[in-house]
Amino acid sequence: MSLRVLGAATLIAVGLLGDVASAVALSDAAGRYAISNNGSSIRFAIGKIGGGGLAGAFGQFKGTIRIDGGDIARSKVDITIFPDSVGTGQGRIDAFLKSDAVFDVANSRQITFRSTSVQRTGDNSAIITGQLTARGHTNTEKFTAELQGLKGGQIRFRVSGQVFRSRYQMDVGTPIYSNIVAFDMEFSGRRG
């Protein structure tokens, strides 16, 4: 019985130590970071029936990441994407994506994400929940963020997640093209 208690106490102690170590790392990362287009990317992919799919990226976006060292749950992420900068490598597809069929850039120039909560899931990872707004529709979405590096005031995150495009009146082409858009993003930010 005493061995069990000892074992449990050891596990708790290790867990606490781990938490303390992580907390120190997060304290180091605490601060406000402006996302730079240089070194950052927002890529997306949509599967299509029969295999393959459509892949592209947004060339222009901006945002900030504010990491609260004391309470990670109070950290904030704001991203603004300019859909007019979408690129797939095929001009006709780009024009289609910018048209009223998808992004409707003539009437809706920005896509925004404002975080509402950050839930830590590991030493370097968290789930970011927030409000994604596109074409006048706002929905709650979740993304997984992973800290990739922190050096000399420069922070790097990899963020991924899936969004149902039908929620934003962008479901043209379903079911030929999947309703799910898979995002794979890398954000590089400088403290300040």
């Binding site: 029969g50 006709r92 289609f96 048209s99 069929a101 998808v102 043209v172």
Partner: protein, 192 residues
């Protein structure tokens, strides 16, 4: 009543004739509209509908050609002159060719398109692309080819309709009405 005789069309030939005729004319109007409509979203959806009906048309035409080859063809009325006796089969042959070639050229077009959009007739199943080289040049060639084959096909349809009206209103024979019902084939339409 299902099969043709030397004096009348059977129900199978009659139903196939009107169904294919309606789809062919509808496809021409749909094709003309879908590339001129301002909304990219509506245009995309109409193009997918056009593809669906194109594959349906192709299937029906193959059945119709098989039916025609395996059945008798009603003879023209005795009063029909030698010129029309030669022209009618030529126009019919041209119509069969158009019904076959126009949807086939559409299938070729979607197969060589650099957009590589899958064909999913009526969202029921994936119709594979033809094994052809995808290229911008091939796509442009087949856009041109499909369009002008459709114009040629609709010109033959107009000629066919005018000839049918001539028989009905001028010659007052049974050529048109026997394509409405097998029961009309023996009606006398001459003035008493």
């Amino acid at each position: 009543m299902l099969c043709n005789t030397t004096t009348r069309y059977g129900w199978a030939a009659i139903i196939l004739h009107w169904l294919i005729g309606l789809i062919f004319i509808g496809q021409f109007l749909l094709g003309w509209t879908m590339v001129r409509i301002a909304s990219q979203r509506t245009s995309f959806e109409l193009i997918q509908l056009h593809k669906s009906f194109g594959f349906l048309l192709l299937g029906l035409v193959l059945i119709r050609i098989g039916w025609r080859l395996g059945n008798l063809s009603p003879e023209l009325p005795e009063e029909v002159g030698p010129v029309e006796r030669r022209a009618a089969p030529a126009v019919h042959l041209g119509l069969y060719a158009a019904q076959l070639v126009v949807p086939l050229s559409g299938w070729v077009l979607v197969s060589v398109s650099v957009l590589e959009i899958p064909s999913v007739p009526f969202n029921l199943f994936v119709m594979p692309h033809l094994p052809l080289q995808v290229s911008e040049a091939a796509e442009n060639f087949w856009i041109f080819g499909h369009k002008w084959l459709a114009y040629a096909g609709i010109a033959l349809v107009v000629l066919h309709i005018l000839a049918a009206f001539r028989h009905h209103f001028w010659l007052r024979d049974v050529v048109l009405v026997r394509m409405i019902s097998p029961f009309f084939a023996n009606r006398s339409r001459k003035p008493e």
